[in-house]
Amino acid sequence: MTVLSNNDPEPGNAAEPLVGPGARLRKQRESLGLDQSRVAAQLHLSEAMVEALEWDDFDALPGSVFTQGYLRNYARLLNLPESEILAAYQHLVPGDQQEHLSTKGTVTLKQEVRSSHGLVRLVSWSIALGLLVLLYFWWQGRFGWQEDTLVDLLPEVDSLDQPLDLDEPLAEPSVIVQSAEDYSSDSISLAAEPIPRVEFPEPSERIPDDRTESLPVVEEAPVPEEPEIAVAEQPTVPFEDTVQSVAELEPVAPAKPEASGKLVFEFDGPCWAEVRDATGRARIHGEKRAGFRQEIDTDLGPFKIVLGDASVVRVTLDGESYDLAPHTRGNVARFVLNPE
């Protein structure tokens, strides 16, 4: 027992690193006055095994599990602390033998795939990121499409409209592009129509400005288009004629804003609607009932329009019904209307 109490952790380990459990057991047995045969009888082991235990000759003993069991029993018989004897044994025989016995033949354990595994995390993050990117493109594709088509169309509209300052609706440019004949007839008909509405004072004030602006532009009107017009219908018509024909259209331009300038919404049934002007101010907002009607000046455009149920709303631009079908998905129409 004195040996135990003196056995300080540091010096003990340093001074006698190779002292196994056997020496302590032997010393204790001798101090108690027991002989090996008696111990062997009490432990039901052979004397040779007791001797092997006392001399740390573990190769002569059956195996780690049994050796540890015998040591524990021996220590208990001699009233020695079992844990210390076992610790001394494990110090002497690092726990390889036990592993060797029990998992003999076990080579390498198959690595489990866990959610905490680095690679799994990396893969899942990249999948999530990929999905986000796809979502972004889809979003762009869905809502950017309408803007794109408008932007595509607008230059064509501008090329013909700006010089003439026609307040044509967006759907019409396609008609204009078709042929000079259509164009002229259209514009003439437009010229005929708007005249009765000349009484609007504001647009009339703008006429001179528009004209001054438009006149020089007429000269700058893209040449390639004019020959085309000429070739299509009147191959022999000289350039002056085309200029003249354009000049004939001149009165149309000033008449346009007078006649139009109104975007009219008429509701045949309940529908949620939102119309915002260029400044972002809501002109129509919220659910409107059947029979609701609102006129908005086109000057405030372009408009951002959302109609919850496009089928019950009639939109009229400059007195002409505006087709909502191209902008409608499901029941909802969502588009930007640029009256210019």
Binding site: L43, P62, G69, R72, L101, S102, V113
Partner: protein, 349 residues
């Protein structure tokens, strides 16, 4: 099926020691991850045919044993090593499997190896298998408890030498002789830790005219219980209801009394060991005589049980390291060996 396999990638292989008293789970690569009493507390809603719901499982439920109101019952779904209540066992397993996969987002679907008593019938084994499958296991393997215990204790089961193992569980004690990865002889007696507790309750009632609960009996067993007369006598003060007066009384018990109380169940275990030794082929018997018997299971923690067996059989008896977890750990190693050598090595149908 495919989804289960994917879920399985995020689950650990588990070895479950579905014991009568405690359920232990060993997760591959992690060690023992769960050790809880096999107790489930169930609430029955009022009225005939009222819905049943699980109130608590494991440690929490054990605290309720014998202390529940009328609408809650704390039950032990395993009796004598086999399933006594199939549904409740399934619920309990489900809870435990989820508990060891707590941090996972994906519902676990692990491969599970369950230990069964070697004396269990085909029907009982099938019940355990179905119960584990119902609790979400992808694949279920069964292994006989003594084999698992021997592997867990570190015995050289693959050698051509006889190793004798005695596993004393809560409901059963299994004794087996193993050689070359197979069981040469096995016997199971329905005596275990629960019978020790029962014996103590009966003893106290007979000699003190006082009724004590099972939990108290277990505490007495753990603190002063012993299987062999020792040099020192320990005492414990316990409280129970005096049957004559009907009033709770406190009294003192000593270790010798408990030793006397435990005589009957202990003799059952000793008898089983002696029978096993008689039935063992002589070569293997010689191996056992040379090296000794290894004790595993919670029952091996009863003081001086090894001493008793040593004196009774005249053979060296050793207690395995950490006997309580031997079966679960052995199951874990068996899973590794199954991966290596194919599923037929240890499993039983």
């Amino acid at each position: 099926m495919l989804f289960r396999r994917i879920r399985g990638m995020f689950s650990n292989d588990l070895s479950i020691d579905l014991g009568t008293a405690n359920t232990l789970i060993y997760a591959r690569g992690q060690g023992i991850v769960l050790n809880e009493p096999s107790v489930v507390a169930i609430r029955q809603d009022r009225g005939p045919g009222g819905a049943k719901s699980v109130v608590a499982v494991g440690e929490d439920a054990k605290k309720m044993l014998g202390r529940t109101p009328a609408n809650i019952t704390a039950i032990r779904p395993m009796k004598e090593g086999v399933i006594a209540d199939f549904t409740v066992t399934e619920k309990m397993l489900q809870y435990f499997i989820h508990k060891v996969h707590e941090s996972r987002i994906i519902r676990p679907s692990p491969r599970v190896l369950v230990c069964v008593p070697c004396g269990s019938t085909q029907v009982e084994r099938r019940a355990i298998k179905e119960s584990a499958a119902g609790a979400g296991a992808r694949e279920v393997y069964l292994i006989e408890e003594p084999m698992s215990a021997a592997i867990g204790a570190g015995l050289p089961v693959d050698e051509a030498r006889g190793s004798m193992v005695l596993d004393i569980g809560g409901g059963t004690s299994e004794v087996a002789i193993i050689s070359l990865n197979g069981i040469v002889y096995a016997n199971s007696v329905r005596v275990g830790g629960d019978r020790f507790d029962e014996a103590i309750v009966n003893y106290v009632r007979r000699n003190y005219g006082t009724l004590i609960g099972e939990a108290t009996a277990e505490r007495i067993k753990e603190e002063i219980g012993s299987a062999y007369p020792g040099n020192e006598v320990k005492e414990i003060e316990v409280k129970g209801r005096n049957l004559a007066e009907g009033i709770p009384r406190s009294f003192t018990l000593n270790s010798n009394e408990i030793l006397e109380a435990l005589q009957e169940p202990l003799s059952g275990i000793v008898g089983a060991v002696k029978t096993a030794l008689e039935q063992t082929p002589p070569e293997l018997g010689a191996d056992v005589a040379e090296r000794g018997i290894v004790l595993t299971g919670g029952g091996a923690l009863l003081k001086d049980l090894d001493r008793l067996l040593q004196e009774e059989t005249g053979l060296p008896v050793i207690v395995a390291e950490d006997p309580l977890t031997c079966v679960a750990r052995g199951g874990g190693r068996a899973l590794e060996l199954i991966d290596e050598r194919g599923g037929e090595v240890f499993t039983v149908e």
